[in-house]
Amino acid sequence: MTPLRRIAQATEIMKPEDITTMQKLSIDDLEKITQKVRKRTLLSEGAGRAKVTVHMGTCGIAAGAGKVLTALEDAFKKNDVKGVILTTSGCAGMCCREPMITVELKGEAPVHYVGLSEENALQIFAEHVLEGKLVEEFALGVGHERFLGESVRVGAAAARSEEAEDVPDLLDVGFFGHQTLVALKNRGMIDPEEIDEYIARGGYRALAKALTQMTPEDIVNQVTISGLRGRGGGGFPTGRKWASAAKATGRPKYIICNADEGDPGAYMDRSIIESDPHSVIEGMLLSGLGVGSIEGYVYIRAEYPLATSILRTAIRQAREYGLLGDNIFGTDFCFDLFIKQGAGAFVCGESSALRASIEGLPGEPTSKYDHATDKGLWEKPTVLNNVETFANVPIIIDKGGEWYASMGTETSKGTKVFSLVGNINNTGLIEVEMGTTLREIIYDIGGGIPNGKKFKAVQTGGPSGGCIPAEKLDMPVDFEQLKEAGSIMGSGGMIVMDEGTCVVNVAKYFIEFCNDESCGKCISCRDGSAALLNILERICDGKGQEEDIELMKDLCGTITDASLCGLGTSLANPVLSTLMYFGDEYIAHIRDKKCPAKICKPLFQYKVITDNCKKCGLCFTNCPSDAIIWKKKEVAEIIQEKCVKCGICVEVCKFGAVE
């Protein structure tokens, strides 16, 4: 039983008979379910006088949302509260400020609380839920996010209590105010394990519309008009892919959703599945209807246990409602969906390796000179799309391709989800209109760089992407612009780096990742990346030579040219882009044997500045490797042979006497 059901029963808001009756749905039933859920969950429809939502994505749970939920459940029981709903939902986006809860009182706008301990949550329960007084200390904002391009300001009309005056509208909180939710439209709003809640927010209406008012060609046309491009990295026009699969003569046809997501720092797809799995299922159903397929697979990595379990529940619930299976909505459309778990190889996200893996072969890319839309899985016509790509489809069918195409830039329409991580104040999952500048993303949404440090570069596109420097901060983000800047959109990971980051070291990290993750088939990728790593290690060790730069460029050229799959042909990007923008830093490592960011340990030494040293001995007491000699009333001295360059002495010295 999901927490909602458990609590609904405990608080007598929902009768047990409502819970178990499941029948095959007709289109009219969608409206009935919607009404029922609204009565049950919307305070304005009489669901109760208050509602508390705990955000339970993987991020929230990791930060302690489970404990917060248990504490609240206990408090509910102990206080025997009536008319208050306690429910759970997925990630609300601001992963750095979890655990988060949202409290809504009847007639008032929802208040979003962040960074909570169990005690904080109980305080909010006592003061806000029971007594109606907002707890300003933990409140981040009041109101709603901007979604589907529309913003609703709650303003004064929201009957905000006096305490709330200093709490901003959510739209004025930079992190939320600059986002536009489309693919994430239900984030934090529904219980992902409750299909009824998805339906109540307009879910499966696109499917109903497609089945009653549209031909398969209409579906594909709307997707084409929307300008939607694949969100898994390549940016291939989705409509064009679907159109060729629709035309293909082979039978059966397959729809595959790529949820292998293996880029370091990327978790867009996991979060979409964890917070709104039915949007992906509905997108796949629409794809099946559009191209004439009755069978789909979701290829999901085994490291995503929560997402897999939520998806499994969602598929079961959709089957129980007859939304998957035979004669969907009583029409002759049949479609079913199966989960295939990957074993965690990054390369299995590549289309030919993914197909091999589903077929039970080793997850190794193969050269394919036929289009997958003609000969894909088991040599049959196949549509392979990314999680986020599918999640965008229902709303496109619902509101029309033109509506979607009204957002974004000339060549990149709609919105894009990014995971914003690294040296940034607000790490989290964001969705912005294509064409938003990097500056807006990093400063307005991300809240800038922590500890007063300077921005250095942002790595986009995962291991195949590149590092974009500060000069390019005003660049609008879309497929073409990123490519021009020497990077790629990739699946949407954005790793922000401050001035304390050594780009040579970053390049080394990504090459090491690719060397590990290469399937090892092509020599260019396998031994090419190993040789490249060897050169980078040499440079970081202070043993680089001037010729190494040219050597790396030559090697990168061949790795790119000669490798079979996308992993090999793009693995050199982190090196090439850092060479392009941060060439001097490589030169500093090679010629001056210096690491400007002080990351590469062999390239710098710690020294005590005698004039500044107050002889306090703090560095001596804190040094973990006994590398400091100090006696009372004497200046400290660092023994270089013993120093492990951890930097603790610099941190603890109050007088700036270690450099």
Partner: protein, 186 residues
């Protein structure tokens, strides 16, 4: 039939014929390490790469797998091909410095030394000919690839004496770098 040009000459071949097959038939030399006429092409050594211009777009493709297509222009020895091949041979020299076959091939392309360093060297270049010989010629599956990245290796199941092995030595026979030694067991 499919018409295309190969090193400036017109060819007409049946659909599905690879560039390597056409080139060999016409006496044009393309170096290969992982190819054998009797077995299915695999595409791991990358030495057979050629430059293909298709609808105005140049790209590098493995000749052993790439099927001839209408109107394409193929160059087996363009500057880009030669440059890539030399770098690949340097990588091979770094991997298998003791292999006479590799040194010989490298010399042919004017590569005498390598600027690259790998942590481990081995005569096995992971071309996979032995794996295919075992499966396709001998009808067994006593050896296969294990692990990925630089750790990739050819192994018997779980690295133990393979029960499936009938001792036909086909694997050692096809190995281009003589990396397989057969031990007689009692």
């Amino acid at each position: 039939m499919i018409k295309f040009t190969l090193d400036g000459k017109e060819f007409e071949v049946t659909k599905g014929t690879t560039i390597l097959e056409v080139a060999r038939g016409a006496g044009i030399k393309i170096p290969t390490l992982c190819y054998h006429e009797e077995m299915s092409p695999y595409g791991s050594c990358r030495l057979c790469l050629v430059e293909v211009i298709k609808r105005g777009w140049p790209s590098i493709q493995p000749a052993c797998l790439y099927p001839a297509q209408e109107g394409i222009e193929v160059m087996t020895d363009s500057e880009r091909v030669r440059k890539n091949r030399k770098i690949l041979l340097e990588l091979y020299l770094a991997r298998s410095p003791d292999s006479e076959a590799i040194r010989e091939l490298a010399r042919e392309y004017g590569v005498r030394d390598t600027r690259f360093k790998l942590k481990e060297t081995s005569n096995c270049i992971l071309c996979g000919l032995c794996v295919r010989a075992c499966e396709e010629i001998s009808g067994r599956r006593a050896i296969s690839f294990a692990h990925r990245g630089s750790k990739r290796a050819i192994q018997t199941p779980f690295g133990e004496l393979a029960e499936l092995c009938v001792g036909c030595k086909a694997c050692a026979y096809v190995c281009p770098t003589r990396a397989i030694e057969i031990e007689e067991a009692d």
